[in-house]
Amino acid sequence: MIEMKNVYKKYPNGIVAANGIDVEIKQGEFVYVVGPSGAGKSTFIKMMYREERPTSGDIFINGTNLSTLKNSKVPYLRRQIGVVFQDFKLLPRLNVYENVAFALEVIEETPKVIRNRVMEVLELVGLKHKARMFPTELSGGEQQRVSIARSIVNTPKLVIADEPTGNLDPDTSWEIMNIFEEINARGTTIIMATHNREIVNTIRHRVIVVEGGLITRDEDKGEYGYEN
């Protein structure tokens, strides 16, 4: 599903965020990516949906080599991947329904399919009754649930979340995790960068630790395991 081979990334300001990363993630896995701030977690994640390009090395998503992917094909890659952001990235002028529907409109779905699918995922994240509200009228947790609904509405095989609970209180974080668990139970691969020790240690999954641009630990059902 995802394969990184000797991936190296150096930013124009000289910072090396990935210093030879090799990793393989299979379909249906749930992976935590942990590590101190500035260790290359975000870069590691951003390279998967081509927000950042590696300086050298190859990244394969479902057999597509991102290093040779043309810019004009990037939107088609992103449609196969649901992305959940720490800052939600909802469109402020669209209401909840429209924000989620947007991901289906870009793939030119029929209005009927859009209506059904959007209501389905809003039901899943528990926001069906707030479909007509605008992002600014929602709490952080609710906005994050909208963001998750948008990421899964076109049933991608892979969902990537960059610190999805980073801005949320503990109770809301657990709600969000329940949603991810449910999505994962349906066979969707989930990759989640997080700083939340409690979650990682309680809901056990594969843990990848990124430090200094390298994967320093990779174990199934692992622990958070370092102080930050």
């Binding site: 939107p75 992305v83 469109l91 947007f102």
Partner: protein
């Protein structure tokens, strides 16, 4: 692109117009002010141009025929003038008619001359291109049986150079105004789009293609242009209607020059205003979005 996507873009652009209330208002105001300026200015320039054309058309060449010329040679001369390159029309005025004109202008006393008319037979010719009157007159002067050829030498040169200068100045002013309008409007639109650069970034991250993002913005620019054209079109039309109503009858008496007719002129100006609004709106949006699509 599928029809439903086109419909979606259409609805999306309208939604944007209403949800971005103040930004829409700012852009539309900028478009309104500039288009109004352009409209009034074009209206004035086109009429000045018309007046210049009318003045030019009044320039004629007076060909005074030799007293010795007989009827046959006068007919021949008429043919020759007609065949001179650059001549548009020729009118023959025999010396009796010439005398009548003088009688009309200076009084019955001149009727005395009817016994023995000292005047010459005359041809009045007009050049196809009034600016070439001088050359045409000189060619006619070379023909046989012409006593003298007059064309307001000296005066028309000054008239023409004045008219040409004012035309060029008008053209430069219109171009400068158009350029300013383009700059002003596209800048205002740019500001409204810069405010939404984050939106564009998000859309790209969700998997929208560049055209999917661009089209609603371009349509929105088109609406801004159309909305901004409404007031200028109404004002320019009313203004010209009233000016025409008051001024045209007065000018008609002098019959030296006239204003452009209300129709189709005002429709052309309106079409120009609308077209400019739309073009500038679309262009402004296109250029502004372009910058933010490289995510």
């Amino acid at each position: 692109m599928k029809t439903r996507t086109a419909n979606r873009h259409f609805r999306d652009s309208l939604k944007s117009i209403s949800r971005n209330g103040w930004m829409t208002f700012a852009s539309v105001s900028a478009v309104t002010v500039t288009l109004l300026l352009v409209g009034v200015f074009v209206m004035i320039m086109m009429n000045l141009n018309k007046i210049a054309d009318d003045l030019e058309r009044d320039v004629e060449i007076k060909v005074i025929v030799e007293l010795t010329a007989d009827e046959a040679s006068i007919t021949a001369l008429e043919e020759e003038i007609k065949n001179t390159p650059g001549v548009a029309e020729v009118q023959y005025s025999p010396k009796e008619d010439e005398l009548n004109k003088l009688v009309m202008d200076f009084g019955e006393d001149l009727r005395l001359f009817e016994q023995q008319n000292p005047l010459h037979n005359v041809f009045y010719a007009k050049a196809a291109n009034p600016q070439e009157t001088e050359q045409v007159a000189k060619k006619i002067d070379r023909l046989d049986n012409t006593f003298e050829v007059k064309y307001g030498e000296g005066k028309i040169e000054r008239l023409f150079s004045f008219l040409n200068t004012s035309r060029n100045v008008g053209l430069v002013l219109i171009l400068a105004l158009l350029f300013t309008a383009m700059f002003l409007i596209s800048n205002t639109i740019r500001i409204t789009i810069v405010a939404r650069r984050r939106d564009i970034e998000i859309m790209k991250l969700v998997g929208a293609t560049n055209w999917f993002i661009r089209i609603p913005f371009i349509l929105e620019g088109m609406w801004l242009g159309i909305l901004g054209a409404i007031i200028p079109i109404t004002l320019v039309t009313t203004l010209y209607y009233n000016i025409h109503k008051v001024v045209a009858p007065k000018l008609a008496q002098g019959n030296l020059f006239e204003l452009l007719d209300f129709s189709p002129f005002i429709y052309q100006v309106n079409a120009l205003i609308l077209l400019m609004g739309v073009l500038i709106g679309v262009w402004g949006s296109f250029m502004s979005v372009r910058k933010f699509l490289r995510v």
